[in-house]
């Protein structure tokens, strides 16, 4: 019985530790863009083994809140507004033109995309870029709920990300489900 | 060394009503705490009102109908409550059970009406500071209605299960607390429903 409790506390511990970690100066998960990046599902021969980049920023509450601040400071709000879209496509829904995995979103930010998405390579430092990636995924509900941000001290334009329903990464291009 | 001046207390009764009992003083302390909780919430309401030019801010004031109905039911519930207290202090088991059941009916009534009251508030708790404080005021009182309802149900069950003299003291104290819950609704009712006009 005590072993069970010990395991429980350990699991709880790692989850809580992970969410509350404040990582100030850390190399981001994948500095370069991995070669496994694909835009479509089609490929000759059998399906190769898919390398998954697990950005630990997804579960980190502080990284997501820093990502939210960078999202507003770097004027992503100008086109995507607070996730609802405008000139740029909405980020809260589950339709991902270029893929919803961390490395897909990272590539979109770095390379830019046609129809107006500027390329921020060299302009947004790596760590802040990955924090914005984590925040964008939390907008769509792809990250664990208890790490997402609550309301902010501004006008109450939408429900905070923490209370948007959790969505699984169902059927986007670039990554088999 | 028993001396002649010893104080013999063997003849004293083993229960009492009103402010002679321990429970009465504990209930008074509880009423002070709950009273302070309500007072601070009302002060917060007035403070937040002071910071806004327009109140409620671009929302319509809460509908008066259900709130007033509920206030009437609560005030009316004071009658069976007083009768229950009278019979309890006369240790008459039958009438106490009956009138406590009547009190429960009233309690059920104003709990149901309270659900409709929430609808008449015309705001959500997360719309703005006005919505937040109004929902907190109403919910705080609702928690007290619920706890009072559950207390009375348990007391009624105990009166059927094992009615000793101590239980009558409990019924009398519960009636006193019922008064507090009903009377503390009056200032909250005035603040929630007439705040937009008075303040």
């Amino acid at each position: 019985m005590t072993r069970l409790i010990a395991v429980l506390v350990l699991v709880l511990g790692t989850a809580a530790c992970e969410r509350e970690q404040r990582r100030f100066n850390e190399a981001s998960p994948a500095s370069g863009i991995p070669q496994t990046l694909k835009m479509g599902q089609l490929e000759p021969g059998g399906s190769a083994q898919q390398v998954t980049i697990q950005s630990e920023y997804d579960e980190n509450a502080w990284a997501i809140s820093e990502g939210k601040r960078s999202y507003e400071w770097f004027n992503c709000v100008g086109c995507h507004s607070h996730g609802g879209g405008g000139i740029g496509p909405p980020l809260m829904d589950s339709r991902w033109i270029y893929g919803s995995e961390p490395e897909n979103i990272f590539a979109t930010i770095m390379q830019g995309r046609p129809n107006g998405m500027p390329s921020f390579r060299g302009r947004i430092p790596q760590q802040q870029a990955w924090q914005i990636v984590a925040y964008v995924r939390s907008l769509a509900g792809l990250t664990p709920a208890d790490a997402r941000s609550q309301r902010d001290d501004d006008l109450f334009y939408k429900k905070p990300e923490a209370r948007t329903p959790q969505k699984g990464p169902e059927g986007q291009p670039g990554r088999q489900p | 060394m028993a001396t002649t001046r010893d104080l013999d207390v063997s003849g004293l009764p083993n229960f009492a009503f009103g402010n002679r009992t321990l429970l009465w003083w504990a209930t008074v302390c509880l009423m002070i705490i709950e009273g302070m909780v309500f007072a601070i919430s009302i002060v917060t309401y007035v403070y937040l009102r002071g910071r806004q030019p327009e109140w409620p801010p671009n929302l319509s004031a809460p509908g008066l109908f259900w709130g007033t109905v509920n206030t009437m039911i609560m005030l009316a519930s004071a009658v069976p409550n007083q009768i229950t207290k009278k019979y309890a202090e006369k240790l008459q088991l039958g009438p106490t059970r009956l009138w406590l059941a009547v009190c429960l009916l009233f309690a059920a009534a104003f709990l149901v009406v309270r659900i409709l009251e929430y609808g008449a508030l015309n705001t959500r708790w997360d719309t703005n500071a006005y919505g937040s404080i109004v929902w907190v005021l109403l919910s705080l009182h609702t928690v007290h209605l619920l706890t009072d309802f559950v207390d009375s149900v348990v007391l009624e069950a105990v009166l059927f299960y094992k009615p000793t003299s101590k239980r009558f003291v409990d019924v009398s104290e519960n009636a006193a607390y019922w008064y507090f819950v009903v009377l503390s609704w009056i200032p909250i009712y005035v603040v929630i429903y007439f705040g937009p006009y008075l303040l």
Binding site: G13, A16, R19, E20, R22, F24, W62, D146, Q150, R151, D152, D153, D154, L155, F156, P160 | M1, T3, R5, D6, L7, D8, V9, S10, G11, L12, N14, F15, A16, R20, L22, W25, A26, C29, L30, I32, I33, M36, I40, T44, Y47, L48, R51, P57, W125, D126, T127, N128, A129, G131, S132, I133, V136, V150, V158, Y161, K162, P163, T164, R167
Partner: protein, 643 residues
């Protein structure tokens, strides 16, 4: 009450039967279901002292980081958690509860009754407190400790600038400790009003009991403010209400008003019981009742009242109208008068009496030396222009440590040395006690006096480091050295206590020759405290006890019966049966704890938790055989009938 008709004749005033009726059950179940006020209170004192040690360790870590400029021993993130945990532990988990715990132990003995008024509620209060403390420290070890200061100003502690659940941990801790304090407050008020021994009218109530009574009333009036504030903050953080969101009508200063309306009475809730302890010690060790009993009681009452009227002196730097601030300057200065009167009365008592140089009395002298200085710097802080210069600097850190350590910890250490023989039956070692006092006195002054200078030279509070060119290095190093000395003295006290438990001299009934009733019982007192119940004839019951002093007879020994007396003149009124030990307060506390912790993660945790927590409370109230203890109930188990 058992049905008198069927059972054999009730047994009155029989010590052996009394012994059996009041004996607490043994084993783990006995520990979890104990309701005897002495068992629960001793456990409470030990738990709060453990939190005192933890808080002290945090302080040493902070001092070690601050000992030289730009130190990298601890980073800003951990340091913010350290000083928040130090503040929250010392204020919520040590200072307020230990004064109440001491009251829960001593008050029933001092007023001559057998148990606290609502014993199961007392057990429930302790368990809720324990769950809260363990919850805070487990969160801290999981890197989830609060990190926005013990008073947690919004918007830094709001949802936007404190991501994660660190601040929610603080909000739930406040709920736990408030419930424990409120419950303790209710019990002490009901006990002091209704369970006093016959003859102990209100004007014969010992000053320690007056202090606990006034503290309990302050608890009842002040604590709801912080409960509402922390729950408003929790709602803002979890379900997006807007109490503190300036963009949607909320306000950051609302938090400061709500918190400090509780905050300032809180420091008097810590300080007034300490005044009670000092009065008890001064009375015993000068062998003379304290001069000016009425003046002392009126001073306690007026300190309690004025304490509610000066919370804005924590907010002089906020843009609040200047005229309002002057009112609070006057109120903050006025509160120095009652404390001054008490100091003068104690000095007069020492002047007239015959002081004995024992450890408790040394702590009282230390209290006078340190607290008076702290009170005078408090008068300085009451003035708006001066406060605008030294607010939120190390000058304030020095001030509140002078009035809290000087004003509360010194009397507390004196009180622990004074009542240790009564609680454990063993005397503490006198020389070790003197060394504890000397080291604490020296260490305290070496640590906190330089902080006055640091504050005047511009060092703000809550900084994890400072730039070398500010010249604050040497004084901070001195403060760190002083902190080490304090650590040694606390260690010495632990050694003294551990040694005394095994090999301390046996303390008889009244080792200090004191006057109050708790010294009429054996050390440690039996489970039923008094047999027979004493009748009180004066303010110092044991000193002016006549030869043929009457006592109370006619209380049943075969069930846990207690005499209830009237509030003003303590005339016997009726008798009440105290409930027997029960496991349900423990279970209710655990369920309530589960509810609060679940609320941290999902708002539905509150709804489901509330339903789950109601069940054990109903079972606790539900009439069961196990509610009654004593021989009276063993016969008529079978034919239980309506009374």
């Amino acid at each position: 009450m058992p049905a008198d008709a069927a059972s054999p004749a009730a047994i009155y005033d029989d010590r052996a039967v009394l012994e059996e009726t009041w004996r607490p059950p043994a084993g783990l179940m006995g520990v979890l279901s104990a309701v005897n006020h002495k068992l629960v209170a001793r456990r409470f004192v030990v738990t709060t002292m453990v939190f005192f040690l933890l808080g002290g360790l945090l302080a040493l870590l902070m001092r070690w980081q601050l000992r030289r400029p730009e130190n990298t021993f601890i980073g800003p993130d951990l340091y913010n958690q350290l000083f928040t945990m130090h503040g929250s532990t010392m204020m919520f988990l040590f200072a307020v509860p230990i004064m109440q715990a001491l009251g829960l132990y001593v008050v029933p003995l001092m007023i001559g009754t057998r148990n606290i008024a609502l014993p199961r509620l007392n057990a429930f209060g302790y368990w809720v407190f324990l769950v809260g403390g363990v919850f805070l420290y487990v969160s801290f070890l999981l890197n989830m400790g609060p990190d926005a200061g013990w008073f947690n100003y919004v918007p830094l502690s709001g949802p936007e600038f404190s991501p994660g659940h660190r601040i929610d941990t603080w909000a739930q801790l406040v709920n736990f400790t408030e419930i424990a304090a409120l419950v303790g407050g209710i019990e002490l008020i009901v006990t002091i009003f209704k369970l006093r021994a016959p003859g102990m009218s209100l004007n014969r109530l010992p000053l320690f009991c007056w202090a606990q009574l006034i503290t309990s009333f302050m608890v009842i009036f002040a604590m709801p403010a912080v409960m509402m504030a922390s729950n408003f903050l929790a709602l803002d953080r979890l379900v997006a209400t807007h109490f503190f969101n300036p963009a949607e009508g909320g306000d950051a200063i609302l938090w400061q008003h709500l918190f400090w309306f509780f905050g300032h009475p809180e420091v008097y809730i810590i300080f007034i019981p300490a005044l009670g302890i000092v009065s008890s010690i001064v009375e015993t060790f000068t062998r003379r009742p304290v001069v000016g009993y009425t003046a002392m009681v009126l001073s306690l009452v007026s300190t309690g009242f004025i304490g509610f009227g000066l919370w804005v002196h924590h907010m002089f730097a906020t843009p609040i109208p200047q005229m309002g601030q002057s009112f609070f300057t006057a109120a903050s200065m006025m509160i120095a008068i009652p404390s001054g009167v008490q100091i003068f009365c104690w000095i007069a008592t020492i002047w007239l009496g015959r002081p004995q140089w024992k450890t408790p009395f040394l702590f009282v002298l230390g209290f006078i030396a340190i607290f008076v200085l702290g009170g005078l710097t408090g008068v300085m802080l009451a003035s708006v222009p001066l406060d605008l210069q030294v607010h939120d600097t190390f000058f304030v850190v020095a001030h509140f440590h002078y009035v809290l350590i000087g004003g509360a910890v010194f009397p507390l250490m004196g009180g622990l040395h004074y009542w240790f023989p009564k609680m454990t039956g063993r005397m503490l070692h006198e020389t070790l006690g003197r060394w504890t006092f000397t080291l604490l006195f020296i260490g305290f002054n070496v640590t906190f006096f330089p902080m006055h200078l640091l504050g005047i030279h511009g060092m703000p509070r809550r900084v994890y480091t400072y730039v070398p060119d500010t010249g604050w290095g040497p004084m901070n190093a001195l403060a760190t050295a002083g902190a080490m000395i304090i650590g040694f003295s606390v260690l010495l006290f632990l050694v003294n206590a551990a040694w005394a438990l095994r090999r301390g001299a046996l303390a008889g009934h009244n080792p200090w020759g004191a006057a109050t009733l708790e010294w009429a019982t054996s050390s440690p007192p039996p489970a039923y405290n008094f047999h027979p119940l004493p009748v009180v004839e004066g303010r110092s019951p044991l000193w002016d006890r006549s030869a043929d002093a009457p006592s109370v007879i006619g209380i049943r020994s075969d069930c846990r019966e207690v005499l209830v007396t009237r509030v003003l003149d303590a005339e016997p009124d009726h008798k009440v049966e105290m409930p027997a030990p029960s496991i349900w307060p423990f279970v209710s506390a655990m369920c309530l704890g589960g509810m609060f912790v679940a609320t941290l993660f999902t708002p539905w945790g509150f709804v489901v938790g509330a339903v789950v927590a109601t069940i054990p409370v109903i079972i606790w109230f539900w009439p069961k055989e196990s509610d009654h203890a004593g021989r009276a109930y063993r016969h008529d188990r079978s034919n239980e009938r309506a009374a």
